[in-house]
Symmetry: none
Subunit: 401 residues, 2 copies
């Protein structure tokens, strides 16, 4: 279906597009035989679905359960497989670390090892954020430049941090050092391809030095490395679609993903109501708005069916504050499914509403998985959603004569 | 949709998957305006459809009528176009011939030519199996090694046999010698690419010698060659999906295809009831079961609408013996459509049921082509079915962070 074709057809316009993303929206039937979305009382979403075109989106592919990174890339029209993004980049993006194309980003988990060097706690007793910051500072001060490679420690939270190696000739094909079980020694950061040998040497130096520096720490006396990812620049939403975009998201990872794709990032918020207030405040300033609701996914991950239902109902109640703006295109969907009965992300497709004056309505009258099967968008790979939004916003010209 | 991605996400599990394949299942309306499947009384399949997710599968592509080889490759998750398999390989697999990567396999049709060398019967009066075996023996004894190429004749049945050339430098790009009409001379096995010149020379030698050897035969006095296929090893279901598979199929070709993909092959059976008995007997021994019902296709090919309806009803009556096993995933579908009104394979998509505790039910209440259009799987390329089955059996890990 030629995903790259869209880019060649983009024309400027003043129309406005809103993506309201309820993370992990799709579900599975609970005890009553209905999904979370089918259970929730959602008069506003149902009314919107009725005058819109609906469908089901596959985030990555049939049967594929996506992580948050690939799922959001697909939402924004980026092939989630070609652009598969390492955990290190996601973490770096989430703390707003200014990445350069010389950077290898690595997720650190602080861990506890015993006197035999065996791991007794893979999360160092989930040390507090204050301890995390103190330890990162200590590592930064005591682990100097290694040859030509600059070494940067960045605190995240609890037991998590980011290690950045900055220099030439670094490679990401390195074995993760977390053996995934306690009672074992950390693995070595072995090069998986010959080109990564230099990186292996640098990392061995960092790990050995870190162990010395942390030897007196009661809990976080070791670092475990995973999610090696070389930073590379992605074309932005402005470069691809001429969209001046604002991301409104409370969780760091989603702000990070948005920043990777060149979006502007709204100030931090705690609630969906606050997010919508920011949307309304800045509605004249941008063309495209990514409004991210995390709690649907969190309740799903917790296996909290009723909690997820409640979050959906809360969003529904706030919906008029968005539709009042009369955006040219309003998309309501999720990035993937997180059925409470599975308490995890899943491979099931995600229901979607695309509302626009230019849309061709279908016979869907309720916003629910089972109804969206009959929607006019059909069952569609998620990466094509952005093209649909641009078309409905009259931001694509005709292809061919 | 990145078909190869599935392979990288496979994780071991102890869950069980059954594929119940009714060959040629899809149909077209008969005199009463209903398809074979719509006409059949199938209370068990309908009940299964009601609590499952349904859909329609395109074996190869829109409008493409598949042979049995590509259709089964697609069922097992192998791209049917990239892995298009020559008739020679299928024939060889069907007689359990031990192929090597030096082999060029060729389907032989014994034919009758007159004194002018023109074909008068392209099937040599469908000689009996005994004659076939005797002739193959005679050819084998009288056509020695040609240079460095070993020449092997293998009897199949009636007018059909397999010729194997074993050696280095053989190529499959050779013109078929069957002119498809009587009253014409056999075509020559002309090389279609320069690299096949050597093979052409070898085949001319074999054909000329075979004509001499068979000159006294009353019926089978000539060989016609088609379906040239160089053997290559396919990755097995175990290598790709970590599935220890059992194929339960009565027809040689399907056993052959299963063997090509590394499945274990159950002992020969005559009836579907016997096939299900084997399934139940070996249920603890394997992860994946391919249970093949041939008669739906045979009745369709015969143009026997009512006969096909009856076969479907017989399978429906036996279904509880399969569902009783409570497999984690039960798929019921066909490899392609064989509408009795066409008396041949066709391009129409095939209805499918995917039953699993992890499936998201849709509104389909009857297992029939027309109902499955509204199924939650949508209309899907058949090659993605296996990924769906693995996902629902919790045999795939998450993609990306």
């Amino acid at each position: 279906m030629h995903p790259e074709l869209i880019d060649t057809l983009v024309i400027p316009n003043t129309t406005k597009i809103i993506f309201l993303i309820m993370d992990g929206l799709g579900g599975l039937p609970g005890p009553e035989g209905m999904t979370e979305l089918e259970t929730a009382q959602t008069p506003n979403l149902d009314a919107l679905a009725k005058k819109s075109v609906c469908g089901l989106l596959d985030p990555v592919g049939y049967g594929i359960t996506p992580g948050s990174g690939p799922a959001h890339f697909a939402l924004f029209g980026y092939d989630p497989v070609k652009n598969n993004i390492g955990r290190g980049i996601l973490e770096g993006a989430g703390i707003d670390f200014p990445m350069t194309e010389q950077d290898l980003l690595i997720r650190i988990n602080f861990a506890t090892i015993n006197s035999d060097g065996l791991i007794v706690d893979r999360r160092a007793g989930r040390i507090d954020n204050e301890t995390n910051r103190r330890i990162c500072q200590k590592l930064q001060e005591n682990i100097p430049l290694d040859g030509n490679v600059e070494i940067i420690f960045q605190s995240v939270k609890e037991h998590r941090a980011v290690l950045v190696l900055r220099g030439d000739g670094l490679a990401e094909e390195i074995q993760e050092t977390d053996p995934q079980h306690t009672g074992m020694a950390p693995l070595s950061p072995r090069a998986l391809v010959p080109e990564a040998k230099y990186t292996e040497t640098v990392l061995n130096g960092v790990i050995n030095r870190a162990r010395e520096v942390l030897s007196a720490e009661p809990k976080a006396n070791m670092i475990l490395l995973r999610g090696y990812a070389k930073y590379r620049k992605y074309p932005s939403l402005f470069e691809r679609y001429r969209l001046n975009a604002l991301a409104i998201a409370s969780y760091p990872m989603y702000r990070g993903i948005a920043r990777l794709l060149g979006m502007n990032i709204a100030r931090h918020t705690e609630t969906v109501a606050e997010e919508i207030a920011i949307l309304r405040e800045h509605y004249q300033d941008y063309d495209y708005f990514f409004l991210h609701v995390k709690a649907t996914d969190s309740r799903g991950e917790d296996g909290n069916f009723d909690g997820k239902v409640t979050v959906i109902e809360e969003v529904d109640a706030l919906l008029p504050q968005i539709t009042d703006l009369k955006p040219d295109v309003l998309v309501v969907t999720g990035d993937h499914s997180t059925p409470a009965v599975l308490a995890s992300h899943s491979w099931h497709p995600v229901p979607v509403i695309l509302s626009a004056a230019t849309c061709r309505p279908d016979m869907v009258a309720y916003f629910a998985e089972r109804d969206c099967i009959r929607g006019g968008l059909g069952r569609m790979p998620m990466m094509y959603l952005m093209g649909q939004a641009l078309a409905h916003a009259k931001r694509l010209e005709k292809f061919g004569a």
